[in-house]
Point group: C2
Chain length 715, copies 2
């Protein structure tokens, strides 16, 4: 092993070539001059052929591509078991999340049916379980309760002199609102998918998504507190509503319904124990125990048997109509006031679904098409909106069950939808006596995984402070500004971090690693020293408008050449010289007039004086403290904007005036292009100032220097 | 010359060293392990000493530093002439810009007095002429007219049955508003200066500032149309107000006051001719003719002589009180509704002043301290606000005059303030009969320089399309959303362009320039070819959350290795092999049980089978289409966030599983730091995967390959 290490070290790096500037490289490597015009690009993308149309059609409706090739023998059993298990999970989750969305529970069941069928046809992920999702539901809840608050439906009872809420009218209105915002968010997703904007999801970086879901989970929990305590708190909307809600709940704690609280606590404790048991038994059982289903069945039976509703005033789910409802056009007139919410729903729903989809696609070796996913979710939501569903995405817990019970394709999803249909048609109405507190308990227990994401903070603190900042800011913004506005603000902040990161780069002087062509920052290494007379400067970031000024400042500082002072000093000196020379010229003129007749060279000496005055260059050899050359290593530069090009041009000009030559090295081809279009090159500045590597530039400078010395001794 | 070119080309690049990975470089160059803790950094910055306190004090009040050393002989005359010239310019501009700010003209004169004196004490730029500025004035005008609209001061005249505006009360209210917003913007500037936030100005890139001032100039012109036509249009505020105003003016054109229109046209024509003459005569005259002053004198005399006000109903300036007014505390109660406007004023005022200041500092060889400038402007505005001034910045036209008439220091500014004091005390009231249309004309003529900035569009189109987009978007946003909101939106957009630019990088495969250690994109050069068996991949941009996914996708595509398919295929193969081997093992086990007694090596062969099953690596030599190694050139990477680190880790793992080795090259030290803190390195992945240059990595791969071949033949 040691021998191998040593032998590897001894691999020789041997290069013997000419020093090459950009011109030489271009000629040796024979640079191509191909620029595709916009027109050609358009033509290219518009081209169309028979097989292309077919594959395009198939990629629009993936079902047609994969269903005919469905390996029935291998997959059917797994998909069936998995479909039934997931379908059973849909029932409690659908009803619970309907509470979050502030609509009657049956609409949560609808949302677990229609969208899943549509995703089955258009979706490309085989493993994710689309359907109701806590974060989305709470976002919808904030819309429904903002646009149809309880106060709008208060009826004044003249006889008892008290006010009462017209629950029926309120719920009808809220379902309308939820359907409208769902429809609109589906349309947004569809449009984004059609213009191939799937890439927007890349703005949702991992720390952002995790912090966002954590904060959203807290929103969810807070919104459910009233059901657990059996109090009737008003829901607030707008920024800071979370804080107002918590305060309201605290102030109403005195009115807690003991019956409800007991139901809540018992359910939560039982669920946690059962879940722990379940995960402990997971290896031994082929199918996990449907804990939540058992919980709601037991709760319903107990509630019905002991009449919780009238005996203990425990709030129950209420009437669940059997069967499906006919489609209804969404309320277009409402949509003006919910554009922002719908957009946030569209982005969040897609973001969650695609990131889960990708994880499992990677794991099981297939691809999800991000644009097709947008289309699939968009269709699910917009068609779902017509059938009065609320917006869906995909849930981690159901997806895990779907996979662990042997689900292999979207067929499992379709089967779970059929289970839902059975429930909707025949079983649903049995759950009318289920206490709402049980559903709230199911929500809490489902969210405890999200709370584990707080562990991200210490781990990000160790690995990347800026990303930790993104996490914290996203969390706080989402908490304070609610999931919709908070998302926009968080994305804006996470983009700003990119600016921050490139705005405060590390500026270093480079020196040579002894005996090599490798250049490293002198402050990082003991054995790296600057090359005498040559300043090699590198910024760790792209040079652009936000840091261009700092680049110049640091270059001045690090190179030890204060160009402004130098130029100022030079100007003064020149002005002085000019005056003196004028005087002398006058004197000389007098003298020459006197002498010219004798020698005939008066004109000659006059010209000499003019040459000295006009020469704007101060010979650097006059000032030994000045470096002979400056090399700017531009290898970390990704692009140059006009400010960047201008900065480089000014540096070359200013130092040039002071007699210091400036060379560039390590420019990428796109940077050179930017320089070309930015009118950087002129008669004075050619591509010969650009060198492939720092070492090329250094060798060039040293060669010039020795040449100058030689010339000096020659003449 | 030709000989020199040739000889330069022949400079040798000769390197003879070992191939070096990061570990070797670190040991050869002796890497330092210095990390300053946050605590030490704080201590460093808190350190304080006697001379430091003194220099800090002097840098806070620059006057004390430079005035004692004022070269009286050299500068005094120039400053005096320049001060008087600029003072004379302040008079018409101050009155005109007061119109823009919708306050009585005398407050424009105050604004040309107090702030200038304060800047004289605290400012660091010697050449800029601070004072009223058109863009700032129009921004203040939008605040005053929004918070104190005409409609609030309408009096119903019962006798004539018509409404009339209580101009006096309105103007008092507007002055109060203008002073409050000015005070607040000054406080913002002061705070920003004290926390050393001068760098925010770097967000105002040149294309942005130029587009912004152009759009603001159009706002200014539109707001003055009513004075030129003598119509009484209401001013709109909020987004799209520009369009509403133009429509309103067009609809009211029928009510044009002919007298006012004639005065406008005559003044504009005369001013343009006079300005052209002035610039033509500029070289011959020591001091430019004060065209604007002459214009207002002639106009005032004519208006007074022929009684424009009553004869032709031309609107005139009205009463100008002599003398100064006592300071008043600003209306703090109003400030809540003007925070946004005040912040926009603070940023714009500072942005304009600092960019002009820098231009002239560079030209005349001194430095302006960006944070001290913020403090100086902040004090000017906040103290000015107490004296009922409106917000100031600095004006290009006055600055040019100040310099061209020989101004050399801030003394010129102070003298111009004294000129203003004289005007305020004794002369101001003489201009009461000046038509407002003349002031509007002065504004137009002063702004025609801004219109020349439209020429930026074609020049940016040629040099940098993204910057042209920034120009256009800034222009349109400022036009539509007004200068305050428009500025914020434009800055946000210009930051987004940085994301866009790094989000769609160019991905290339690199090849070797023949006979060198230089690697360039193969698609750009004819003579550059890929090295067989090695894929060298580079993205032109930093690898971070917004493009991490694309990086992987393009790597898969360009390298021709579909890792997901490969892994999938491999898994299936392995599963098959596993089953087969199980069968065989069973068979063998049976056999060995039968044979073991004979040979005694049953256990041995069993072990062999296990080794084959457990080995997760597919030998790449099995699939000749696979590359042997992939080298990722990370030299353009500026930083890595957690997503970037994770992406690299996944790439190394996925390709590693497929039997392809991955190496990194050209990492900056900060990138290596990011990798270290991001837990990139492990027992399997050490710093030995990082090479200094691409060529090092290539040589290492080739060496490994030949070693393998040798080993292959040996055994």
């Amino acid at each position: 092993m040691v021998v191998e290490m040593e032998s590897r070290k001894r691999v020789g790096y041997h290069v013997e070539r000419d020093v090459m500037d950009e011109i030489v490289v271009d000629s040796v490597a024979d640079k191509l001059d191909v620029t595709t015009s916009v027109k050609d690009k358009l033509k290219e993308s518009m081209r169309c052929s028979g097989p292309q149309v077919k594959s395009c059609f198939l990629s629009c409706i993936p079902l047609l591509a994969w269903l005919p090739r469905y390996p029935f023998k291998e997959n059917a059993f797994g998909d069936l078991v998995s479909g039934i298990s997931v379908g059973i999970m849909h029932l409690p989750q659908g009803m619970a999340y309907a509470l979050l969305a502030a609509v009657p529970p049956v609409f949560g069941l609808y949302s677990s049916f229609y969208p899943i069928l549509i995703y089955f046809i258009f979706g490309t992920s085989k493993h994710i379980s689309v359907g109701t999702y806590a974060v989305m539901s709470v976002m919808i809840g904030s819309v429904t309760e903002r646009l149809a608050p309880d106060s709008d439906f208060t009826l004044w009872n003249n006889i008892s002199n008290s006010s009462e809420i017209n629950f029926e009218a309120r719920d009808i209105e809220r379902v309308k609102i939820a359907a409208a915002v769902t429809f609109l968010s589906g349309i947004f997703q569809l449009l984004l998918g059609l213009v191939q904007f799937g890439f927007v999801v890349t703005y949702l970086s991992e720390p952002l998504v995790r912090a966002y879901t954590t904060a959203a989970a807290i929103h969810v929990i807070v919104s459910q507190l009233k059901y657990s305590f059996g109090i009737s708190a008003t829901r607030f909307s707008g920024p800071l509503s979370l804080i107002y809600t918590v305060l309201e709940v605290c102030s109403l704690l005195g009115q807690t319904n003991i019956g409800t609280l007991v139901v809540s606590i018992v359910t939560i404790v039982c669920l946690i124990i059962a879940k722990e048991l379940n995960s402990w038994l997971a290896r031994k059982l082929p199918v996990p125990v449907p804990v939540e289903l058992i919980a709601i069945i037991i709760a319903t039976v107990l509630s019905w048997q002991f009449d919780f509703k009238t005996e203990y005033k425990v709030e129950v789910v209420g009437s669940i109509p059997s069967g499906l409802q006919p489609p209804k056009l969404p309320a277009f007139s409402m949509m003006g006031s919910m554009i922002g919410d719908a957009f946030a729903l569209a982005v969040v729903g897609y973001g969650i679904a695609i990131s889960l989809g990708r994880i499992f696609a990677l794991k099981y070796g297939y691809k999800v098409d991000s644009n097709q996913e947008l289309v699939a979710l968009g269709l699910s939501n917009s068609i779902g909106g017509v059938f009065q569903c609320f917006a869906i995405s995909c849930s981690m817990s159901r997806t895990m069950v779907q996979i662990s019970t042997g689900g292999k394709t979207q067929v499992a999803g379709a089967l779970s939808a059929i289970v839902m249909l059975v429930i909707l048609l025949w079983i649903g109405s049995l759950f009318e006596d289920l206490p709402k507190a049980v559903l709230a308990a199911i929500i809490y227990v489902n969210l405890h995984g999200m709370m584990k994401q707080f562990a991200d903070i210490p781990s990000l603190w160790r690995s990347n402070k800026v990303d930790m900042l993104v996490w914290l800011v996203t969390f706080v913004l989402t908490l304070l500004l609610n999931p919709d506005l908070g998302l926009a603000a968080s994305i804006a902040f996470s983009m700003l971090t990119v600016i921050f990161r490139t705005q405060l780069p590390k500026y270093s002087l480079l020196g040579q690693v002894p005996g090599t062509d490798i250049y490293r920052p002198v402050e990082d290494y003991n054995q790296v020293t600057q090359i005498p007379g040559i300043v090699i400067f590198r910024s760790s970031a792209t040079l652009y408008f936000a840091n261009a000024e700092m680049y110049t400042d640091h270059l001045y500082e690090k190179s030890g050449v204060d160009v402004t002072k130098l130029l100022n000093h030079k100007k003064k000196l020149e002005a002085k010289r000019l005056r003196q020379e004028k005087k002398e010229a006058k004197k000389k003129a007098k003298e020459t007039v006197e002498v010219s007749e004798l020698t005939g060279n008066g004109q000659q000496s006059g010209k000499d004086v003019v040459v000295v005055v006009a020469g704007p260059q101060l010979d650097p050899s006059l000032d030994p403290s000045l470096p002979k050359a400056i090399i700017l290593d531009l290898s970390p530069v990704n692009f140059l904007d006009t400010v960047g090009v201008k900065t480089l041009r000014n540096i070359i000009k200013d130092y040039g005036d002071a007699g210091v030559k400036v060379f560039l090295s390590g420019c990428q081809s796109c940077v050179i292009e930017n320089l070309e279009t930015g009118d950087f090159f002129s008669e004075k500045i050619t591509k010969a100032v650009i060198f492939s590597t720092v070492h090329d530039a250094v060798l060039h400078c040293q060669e010039e220097d020795t040449k100058k010395l030689k010339n000096g001794t020659h003449f």
